[in-house]
Subunit: 210 residues, 2 copies
């Protein structure tokens, strides 16, 4: 379901990417990735509630102690999971192939960004709910790295009016909590919401007539 | 600062308005209003933190016991305060004078609605934060009464695309948590955000060229 293309490793400016911890030895990094992939699969198949330290250990074929050593607690695991999803999406829109990555016209990149974000929401939405969010959500790095990207594309598209406030609105339109309500309570499909997103982006970036 | 016009009392369809309790005797209702006005003044002048049962009692010139009997707890008071603000805004856009109330063109009513909401946010925002909000915010009556209003105006304005998803986006653009971040952290004025809101409404309701 996730439409984000795999990204070839390269010299990422790491400061631009969310970091939870300093460099890891590569076997530890691989181990970590294995556990996070297992956790992500569980969320995708059964929802965030299914992610217990036990279930992740079983799924990854390791002992429960390994999961605890690696993430400390379920909350730590949830944060790491969210962090990984953000990193993947960031890498895809910063360095991946067009239309999500550089090379496509800005409006097409915005459209692709929204659709990629929506496709991740089944996973991330539940995790965001679990991993606090809270009052400082708009001040945190995940929000603002993404907002910078959206603002940049809006500027390139020569959108009118206040670019930064418009970026807030666009991000609010595909906020995880709202989208989960739209899909789970109101019955919209992610595709319908993606189509709506596309029409919204085209309208707010259209040049005013006259 | 609140730009909502006072509404002349009349035969309101009460089912459309949020109700917290059945009919009250009019002296009790006046008493309640007095206390809520005192609480609202405190929020407006000193923020939601300043609203204690004690402070409200002092401000209203009654004993603390009266406030407790009336609202049960600080949380009860906060909910009642939010409820009152919602009712005032609802009455204003449903039955008040144009451009917020009936009689103005739908786009002008949408513009006026956003500005009225923004003007209430200094009060309501803090109260919303205190009075839960939470996961079911999109399912609750306050959200959906307002969403119905916004959707109706969008339909009257013959806005293109999915009216209900667009209503969610517009409401997200002036969500209390987001707007408080924009004013308190980013330093925007409510007037700047109101001007942005107006330009957003005009763009999303503009007929597509060709």
């Amino acid at each position: 379901m996730l439409s984000i293309e795999p990204v070839t490793p390269g010299p990422l400016p790491r400061s631009a990417i969310l970091n939870t911890e300093p460099t890891e030895r590569s076997d530890a990094a691989r181990n970590r990735e294995l556990l996070l992939d297992a956790a992500e699969a569980l969320v995708r198949e059964q929802g965030a509630d299914a992610v217990t330290m036990d279930a992740v250990a079983k799924r990854a074929g390791v002992g429960k102690g390994t999961v605890f050593r690696r993430f400390g607690s379920r909350s730590g695991l949830m944060h790491a999971l969210l962090d990984q999803s953000e990193k993947k999406l960031q890498a895809a829109y910063m360095f991946g192939p067009p239309p999500l990555g550089p090379g496509a016209p800005p409006v097409e990149r915005l459209v692709a960004f929204g659709r990629a974000r929506l496709n991740g929401i089944e996973v991330e939405g539940d995790v965001i709910r679990e991993a606090s969010g809270g009052a400082d959500r708009y001040s945190g790095a995940p929000y603002n790295v993404t907002k910078t990207h959206v603002s940049l594309l809006l500027r390139q598209a020569e959108a009118e009016g206040n670019i930064w406030l418009l970026a807030d609105t666009l991000m609010a339109a595909i906020d995880a909590g709202l989208v989960l309500h739209q899909t789970r309570v109101l019955g919209y499909t992610l595709e319908q919401i993606g189509d709506y997103w596309e029409s919204l982006v085209r309208r707010v970036t259209a040049r005013t007539a006259q």
